[in-house]
Symmetry: C2
Subunit: 352 residues, 2 copies
């Protein structure tokens, strides 16, 4: 079986692995009733499980959706932030977007301060381009505009977490730096900030590998007098090369700033669920379940119907990729225009 923790994901997750992981985590699958209430096409296909969101959604709530600015953002990030924007619009949710630039600086030996600050800015452009309402959104970069309330909350949280606890939860070792070992307190403070500041319960849309932060936040919250945060767990977004999509492996992901030519090269080289030859594809059909190209068709463009055509051998990979290419290029052209306009809006979110 594949394994998962906050710093490593090994193996490919199949549907049954997700179900098993959810049971082990003590989370719940998103059922029909909750899915209907949320009313988003990616629920429950991509965002498939949750903790307490069925309760949290009953009142006005906050969404905490962070960003670790070590690299440019890719389509997977876009997809999550678009989901957050959907929830903001539909449920009048307050959105808090903390940038863990401090954690990136602490965790990545090769990254320096200037590089992280540059990524803060680049990533913020992508986020603004998504169209968050500045009246209902706060962006905080730990290294740029840390809020006193968040620091104080981190200290209150840190008082409740021992070094042993983070060591067993995250596998830290004594030769790692003290900043990394403190950082879980800061991340939990990010998660609990809207609850402490505005009295809103928080939900965190999060990949399963980051669930441990929410679990720890749920342990600590009542001990600092706050309501437990919930989460919405997403499946892993497959990388173009077959494994997990990763910002740090350019060939696995399409960045929001990639040119049409770059996207073309990545897609044409991408792993697929198709057969080795066109002839075989026509005869046996492909396997969309393991195909990142299908994943994008389905989750980015609501184009699930091609899955059947693929299985039936009616689609060949080259054409399927070309179709996806033109869709992504069009979508990113639009995003990139908004991203350019976002340069003038930065000050409304963060004084950088």
């Amino acid at each position: 079986m594949p394994t998962v923790d906050a710093y490593n994901v090994e193996g490919r997750f199949e549907e049954e692995d997700y179900l098993k992981a959810v049971r082990e985590f003590g989370a719940s699958l998103i059922g029909k009733k909750l899915a209907k209430k949320i009313g988003h096409p990616l629920v429950p296909s991509l965002f498939f499980a949750h903790r307490d969101f069925d309760e949290i959604i009953k009142n006005r709530f906050a969404i905490v959706s962070g960003r670790g600015p070590s690299m440019r953002m890719h389509l997977g990030h876009l997809l999550v932030f678009r989901f957050v924007k959907f929830l903001q619009d539909k449920f009048d949710a307050f959105v808090f977007i903390p940038f863990s630039d401090d954690e990136k600086l602490l965790a990545k030996e090769h990254l320096n301060y200037e590089q992280v600050r540059q990524m803060d800015y680049e990533n913020l452009l992508d986020i603004i381009a998504i169209g968050f309402d500045p009246e209902k959104t706060e962006v905080m970069m730990d290294l740029v505009n840390i809020k006193q309330d968040v620091y104080n909350l981190a200290i209150r949280v840190a008082k409740k977490i021992t070094a042993s606890t983070v060591r067993s939860a995250f596998g830290f070792t004594p030769d790692q730096n003290i900043g990394l070992q403190f950082y879980p307190a800061m991340q939990i403070a990010h998660i609990l900030y809207p609850t402490a500041k505005y009295g809103l319960r928080t939900v965190v849309p999060i990949g399963m590998d980051q669930d441990v932060f929410v679990k720890l936040a749920r342990d600590v919250a009542p001990r600092v007098g706050l309501a437990k945060p919930g989460d919405i767990l997403s499946k892993f977004i497959p990388g173009l090369t077959g494994g997990k999509m990763s910002s740090s492996k350019p060939e696995t992901a399409i960045y929001t700033t990639d040119s049409p030519q770059e996207i073309k090269v990545k897609l044409m080289n991408a792993f697929t669920g198709g057969q080795a030859t066109v002839k075989e594809q026509r005869e046996k059909g492909g396997n969309p379940d393991i195909c990142p190209i299908f994943f994008y068709h389905k989750f980015l463009f609501d184009n699930e119907s091609i899955g059947e055509k693929c299985r039936a051998g009616e689609l060949i990979c080259g054409n399927c990729k070309k179709d996806l290419l033109s869709r992504i290029v069009k979508m990113l052209e639009d995003h990139q225009k908004k991203r350019e306009k976002a340069r003038d809006l930065v000050d409304r979110f963060v004084k950088m």
Copy 2:
């Protein structure tokens, strides 16, 4: 031999113990030349050793003198901050006064946030009363007005310090909270802030038990591209009961806000270097070297000459205490007036 580390001081330090500790620490005694340049009556009698201050004093420098606001301030604190103010006036030094209210909250199980914030305010009044020049002084309370520059410096510093290092330097154990284990990075950031922000080398007047922070700061400074801080080491200020003066043991210290009656009770009950009876005192004389009453006469009021009278049996403890009482009452009357006026000046230092 007595022992000393950042969280414990055991035993009484005699002159030879100080000399030995300085050798072991790798610090230098303050010699005649440097003492003359500093030109303060407590150098080198109380402030007796240093690291690099002979170099640092050659240019404009910064003094970092922190405050851990867990209790009211006592005469020992007053004495150190007065020394800092003297250096500010004489050498045009920039003074940075960080309040480690976060560390106090993390380290003291019984203290809550409101109590620490109250002490932030009370202690600040004492510090303002000393007369620091607001144009050349910055006060920062980690839980009130943390500076982004300081937080960022703490992250850069934390990246260079492993959990093993703080464990061996401070004796931390895995069952202690992660805030405490991170705090050394914050304290080092306090120490290095004037160097990072204004390019001034820093000197830290500090009790020997806190020297380990400066040592660690000196190790880390060049690794974050900054000049090493120096320090001025002070001897321990004896408590009225014979051991170390401690804010948390009211009977050992005279607080800046004590009433004449409270001071009288504490002094009359104080340990002395005198003999058991007046008759013996007349015959054998007393031992001012171990006497806290003599210490205050000498260091607070420059009244060293009574030492000889004591040894000669010319002074009896009751009278010596009464003399000290009237001096302290007069001094604190003046301080307390300034402390009341300081309420109107708080905003010039910290927006609370």
